[in-house]
């Protein structure tokens, strides 16, 4: 039996006698109970995400809602004679489990067995990491409400409107199976974001961040940043669309980088689809992402292998994009829902594409490797030593961008994206910020932008669904295509 839980020192989470999510023991007991209710011969695997979260929301300087939720989500997967089916539940009583097993049974009966033999794995080797923070788990409703009172004070004093959100959560992550695999890791997450607007609706500032540890989040500082951005963005002027040198704050870099991170997949590349295909198939319309229906079998039958840009220079050589479950600034769960390990990986190293993610079936059939290469969505982008102030000083004419919203891919092969700038956009002239400007719709690809790199700053944690540690970047010839003057 492999257990990262048993190998980690329990003393590292002093509060870890979970009373708001499932314990390691409870996960084991649950598996035993489900096995006891299942026909013999069924191999059973559970993915458990048992979550507590507490939140506080405010707008127009006043608290609007606060909530506290507990939910144990469990995916029961059954393998039987090379067939498999799963069912998700969030109530773990006998009736709910029996009902889930009955659904699974009906699905198994109807299935044709797969040609590829499958065996549950009894052990995996996971990276040791620490995802727990007592401070996050302890931030209760009283503290959250008290904090809000402090945070909105300065916005209120300046007759501005603060709206924000604070959420802390604790998750018991587990994968257990009937072959003996046992992985369990408790995790905390904290996120904070705030928008300050002026009552006339002409200025808006935003700041936000996530961390496992609430103490890493300086809510007062972020509130001050949002307020400052709001004040400095009031009454923006319209300037001409066109190509600009832009200084992207870290949040804006991550907003543009997100489609690139989620595209780091090998099977579509080998099929000639997407940005990482060496010889992309030309089509008139390429804004449809390849979906799950693209089968591995097609890759295999087409000969597969080789038709990707692995080994090629794809970004500026100053850029390295990596992921590591043990990254101290952005750790994440070292196993995937199927129990396979999330490994440390360098996707892009000094601008060269090194790896693309692949599923276990691809690893087994095409690479003769046992494990998949998972892409959790978490990443770190390397930086440089230029501060945003230095970038501004170096800019003859350009824009300072707070963040990008509504980002979507319009061309999958080039990763050309569109979206709008939001919550603070300023014109830089002769090395100085001169005035707020109206938002733009942009049309740009992270592949082009990060090949047009002028400078990088120090990477910091930003607000994204999975941990992202990203630097500010100065990029030339960023394409702003039209005015999009929403505030």
């Amino acid at each position: 039996m492999s257990s990262i839980f048993s190998r980690l020192s329990r003393s590292t989470w002093s509060l870890f006698t979970p009373d708001r999510f499932l314990s390691a023991d409870a996960c084991q007991e649950l598996l035993a109970r489900i096995i006891g209710m299942s026909p013999s011969g069924w191999e059973i695997s559970l993915h458990i995400e048992s979550r507590w979260s507490g939140n506080l929301r405010w707008a127009r300087n006043a608290i609007t809602t606060a909530g506290d939720t507990t939910e144990p989500r469990v995916t029961i997967t059954v393998h039987h004679r090379n067939r498999s089916a799963n069912f998700k539940i969030n109530r773990l009583d006998d009736a709910s489990i029996r009902s889930a097993l009955a659904h699974i049974s009906r699905r198994l009966e109807l299935q044709a067995p797969s040609d590829i033999p499958f065996a549950l794995r009894s052990a995996e080797d996971y990276i040791q990491t620490e995802l727990w923070s007592d401070a996050t788990y302890q931030l209760d409703a009283a503290q959250r409400a008290a904090l809000q009172r402090q945070l909105v004070g300065s916005a209120e004093a300046e007759q501005l409107l603060s709206a924000g959100y604070l959420e802390v959560s604790a998750i018991g992550n587990g994968v257990v199976n009937s072959a003996g695999l046992f992985a369990y890791l408790p995790e905390t997450r904290a996120e904070f974001s705030v928008t300050v607007r002026d009552p006339s609706g002409t200025g808006s500032g935003w700041a936000g961040v996530a961390s496992k540890d609430w103490r890493d989040i300086d809510a007062a500082r972020l509130s001050a940043i949002a307020l400052d951005k709001c004040k400095r963005s009031i009454d923006p002027v319209a300037i001409e669309p066109g190509r600009y040198t832009v200084i992207l704050e870290p949040q804006a870099v991550s907003d543009l980088m997100r489609p690139l991170i989620s595209s780091l997949s090998r099977v579509p590349a080998e099929m000639g689809m997407g940005p990482w295909a060496d010889r992309p198939e030309q089509t008139a319309q390429t804004d449809f992402l390849p979906d799950d229906s693209i089968s591995l079998a097609a890759t295999v039958s087409s000969g597969g292998g080789g038709n990707s840009k692995i080994g090629q220079l794809v970004l500026d050589p100053r850029i390295t994009i990596s992921a590591d479950p043990a990254d101290p600034e952005g750790p994440f769960v070292p196993f995937a829902p199927d129990g396979s390990p999330n490994r440390a990986v360098k996707w892009i190293e000094n601008g060269v594409l090194r790896e693309l993610s692949y599923p276990r079936s691809y690893a087994n059939q095409m690479l003769n490797k046992p494990d998949p290469l998972n892409n959790s969505g978490a990443y770190r982008m390397s930086g440089g030593d230029t501060t945003i102030e230095e970038m501004i000083a170096r800019t003859e004419r350009g824009l300072l961008v707070t963040r990008l919203t509504n980002v979507r891919v319009v061309d999958l092969n080039s990763l050309l994206c569109t979206g709008t700038t939001s919550d603070g956009l300023w014109l830089i002239e002769r090395g100085e910020i001169t005035r707020p400007v109206k938002n733009f719709r942009f049309r740009e690809s992270p592949l082009f932008a990060f090949n047009s790199l002028e400078a990088l700053g120090k990477p910091v944690r930003v607000l994204q669904p999975m941990p992202a540690i990203v630097p500010p970047a100065m990029v030339h010839d960023f394409s702003m295509t039209s005015l999009a003057d929403a505030v």
Binding site: D93, S204, V487
Partner: protein, 542 residues
Amino acid sequence: MSPTRRDFLKTISAATLSLAGGGGNALFGLLPGIDLYPHAGDPALKELAARALDAARAAGASYADVRFTLTRLEGLRIPSVHSYQHTADQEFAGVGVRALVDGAWGFASSTLWTADEVARLATEAAVQAKHNAAAGRRRVELGPPPAPANGEWQTPIRRDPFTVPLAEKIETGWAFVELASRYNIGARNANLGATLDTTWERQERTFASTDGAFTSQTVYRVTPSYRLSVQRPRGTGRRSSDLLRPRAGGWEVLAEAPLRDEVPRLVEEAFLMTEAERIVPDRYDVVIDARLMTQLVALTIGTATELDRILGYEANAGGTSYIASPIDQAEPYAFDTGLLNVRANRSQPDGLATVRWDDEGVEPEEYDVVRDGVVVDYHTTRELSTELAAWHGRHGLPNRSRGCAAGEDALAVTMLQPPNLEMLPGADATTFDELVAGVKKGLAICAGTVTVDRQQLNGEINGELVYEIRDGKVVGTVHSSEALFRAPELWRSLKGIGGRGSEYRAGITVRKGQPEQVCHFSVGAVPALFEKVAVTNKLRKA
């Protein structure tokens, strides 16, 4: 007392007792003893609801409500004639209690339906509310309570999709996919494929409030999509079914869809798109088909008239609205066109937002949102309607909730969600083709996607099928086009709309709130002609 209720209550008390000393696991649904759960309408839920409301009152709540939901969801993808895969298969339960104490809200939810747990949630919600009230910056007023809602309601369906055997679902899907693969494309060099994706959802909802409401509703939704593609050496053309659309309903929505009649047209239209020319960026007169218009109405009228967005309650999440707050304005917001009329309802039989009572026990009414181009009302909940008291008074409208309170399930807090909307057809019987016939140099854009920014102000229209029009005639198709708009200017440029018979109703999904919730609603619209719309090549940079 029914056997169901007796067994349930007996079992839960035994289970709760046996685990009383067993630590916190009772909180997570780890109650081995339970082997029967009540469904919507079961009196056992009334007893549990009473427990929650009593506990909330005892903890100081001036108002409280409790919701129970049980959500069954199954998603099936048919990517070819001989394969299928489940994209989702799940059943999630929830119970949530909302308490108002000293004018502030608190909310707590979990998945366990026991007397002790609902009492804990009620107490927790009230405690949160007290902390929030201490901030004292805003006092929530709910206004007079609605007439106590009592009863049961269900989406009218002919067959519950969850009673249909999986084999029947798969065979039905295969037959649809086969319509494309067996289509005779003649001597044309092309690959033709189709994928059917369907999600069925059944949500049982029970609601009770300290105002005396107790309602049970079961909502059925189906989200089908049928996409086909034609691949040729020079390009790929894609079309999706107009007939299969997200709506409320049962198994019959999919099973009885006359796709056989539609597929030949879709295939030929996809072929046309493989021959499309690249768009020449310019200003064009644009006819937008009724299907794409539903999105334009949903986003630039529907979500833009949500009062919470307008007032800034969504500023840090889903965004605000370009429509000015009615509270500060003497004059109502006016679009510079008399052709635009939009009504809201939560009663359209196939509407995704259709319910008998909302999640505050309010029975929604139909109301005008835009009349002759003027915004005449806004979507509200109970607390938001009190903020409109003066405005409603000035305009002679009843100052009560428009019935838009909803949570995606009981785990999520109640918020304002959009109702169903209907853009009213024009007085005459103008058709899509007649609108096209009136265009000298332009485009006709069919199906596709509309996106908007965080103020619902600026947006893009991406068509699935885009015809080029010269002198009232279709002369070809174009690809890579993207029409850009600013909502007030776009509506000002509205020059014609379709009449009765040209309506199309679509299911729309938007996200808002923190934590984010999914909102489903239906929108009906007619085709429309807009003058001099900027159309760009979406693949071209500045």
